[in-house]
């Protein structure tokens, strides 16, 4: 199940961003994304551990560039979401290889995928809401929110790293 979703995520991620570029007439980035997707899949088959990280960064880089270029936001956004999913599943797939015969791998897969889907759906929902709804706040409040965000973000990272 994980392998199926992983390969699906890579294809959808690369496909969304590449089609966004291609529809706007940028064919070179589309080809580059195709190469990226192929390398990612080959890397998974050949167990190259380094592949998912550049894959994720490239997908997010292309998606961000797509936003700047005014490409279809939905496709860029979906590509990024599926890229995050592919990066997560790549690591999970590698961890599952450590399981021994008789371990409850389907149970682990089910719970992981459920959690990932919830996180991604929540992220996608909040992002869509942010894209659709625009709230106007004053500069002072924006500064306060930025400071609070930076503090909270720092706390999260510190807790995860320790």
């Amino acid at each position: 199940m994980t392998a199926f979703l992983l390969f699906g995520s890579i294809l959808l991620s690369v496909g969304c961003v590449a089609s966004g570029y291609s529809l706007a007439g940028y064919f070179v980035p589309g080809i580059l994304l195709g190469v990226l997707g192929t390398t990612w899949i080959i890397g998974l088959i050949r167990r190259w551990k380094w592949v998912p990280l550049p894959g994720l960064l490239a997908i997010y880089g292309f998606a961000a560039a797509g936003f700047f270029l005014g490409l279809p936001a939905g496709l860029m956004f979906l590509g990024a979401i599926f890229g995050l999913s592919a990066w997560d599943l790549s690591d999970f797939y590698a961890r599952l290889r450590l399981a021994a015969e008789g371990d409850d791998v389907p149970g682990l897969e089910r719970r992981h995928i459920l959690r990932l889907m919830l996180v991604l759906l929540l992220g996608a929902g909040l992002s869509t809401a942010a894209l659709v709804e625009h709230v106007h706040i004053s500069f002072e409040w924006m500064v306060v929110l930025i400071l609070l965000g930076a503090w909270g973000f720092g706390r999260i990272v510190r807790q995860l790293l320790h």
């Binding site: 994720l56 997010y60 961000a64 995050l84 961890r95 021994a100 719970r111 996180v119 807790q159």
Partner: protein, 425 residues
Amino acid sequence: MNRAFITALLACLLIVTGLAALHAPLLVLAVPVCIYLLSGILFRPGDIQIEAERRISAERVLVGEKVLVTLKVTNPTNHTLEELLLEDLVPPGLEIVEGSCRHLVRLPAGGSVTWTYGLRGRRGSYSLGRLRATARDQLGLATVQRTVTTTGQLLIVPPVLRLRRVAIQPRRTRVYSGTIPARQGGPGVEFFDVREYQTGDPPRWINWHLTARHPASVYVNQFEQERVADVGLILDGRRIANEFGERTIFEHSVLATASLADAFLNAGNHVGMFFYGKQIVWTMPGYGKIQAERILHDLSRLEPGDSQIFSDLYVPRNLFPSHSQLVLISPLASADDGALVALRSRGYHVLVISPDPVAFELAALPVSTTTDLAARIVRLQRNLLLRRLRATGIQVVEWDVSQPFELVARQFLERRPGLTRGVQP
């Protein structure tokens, strides 16, 4: 690279770029990444407080025998470990032949997991007391690792070949009866000498032929007493003598030592062992099965070492008095004759079992004229060394390790050494 760090870096990049460029969609792109990070912090695993219990099917096995290790890991806390990787840290030298020492599980609060795997390994003493537990949240962002200690010791001892008899004849024996000819007349089996009849001698001991030839007196047969002896086994563990590139002949020496110790102890002798290798190890002399087990335990721990000088070989006389039997198990190096001759000159009766290093090394080399020539030269040097030893009265048994040790023992060790019988020292 840490996954949490990567995610945080990506989110930071998106937020900073979005703010710098005043481009809201980039901030929106960071939202799923931030939610992903937040999930990691919310569902990160707590401290790992698991309990592990280990059972080993046998604590002492022979080389090649399989051992089953059963591990039971319990989570006594009230929080579930969603993704827990349990790895039993198997020391080098052991190989897993059945099952797996690693399991990826979900361990609910109060739950437990049990598994069994099979091990096999080289000779040695192994500590199987460490289990590494790595807990992650379901997205793998936060990792907590802990090593849990358990009890578990495994001793893999060398195989012991049952030798029928090892004939030695040291000049000095102990007072207890045994199987070593003591060069003294008395009760026994083998004919030793004749003497004049004394009151109390059983009539069946009378030598009628001799008495008929010398009618002035009556003569009786004397038999050679058989007693136990002090036997010191010296195992040579020097790398210089035992190791040839990646291959070592040391395991053969260990096998021979174990078999000889067993044979000598079964015959009732007082046996001790001295190891000269990575470290100097003494197994104090003793009798019986406990001593055999003690020697096997010590043998299982020995490793070849870098000691080079054999001439400092010191055998304490309080443990092995002069004229007792020493058995050296060594492939021998070129300058070893001095130390052995010195032992002989101190009165020890020395038997050398020498696994043949030339044949051993040659078996692993490609056939060529150069190799043949080199082998001939080394063989000549070795033959000279052995000849020098034999000339001083040292009994040398050369063992081509491609042959089973029992065969060599039967051929060369079961017969009595060719010394003059009945001669007192």
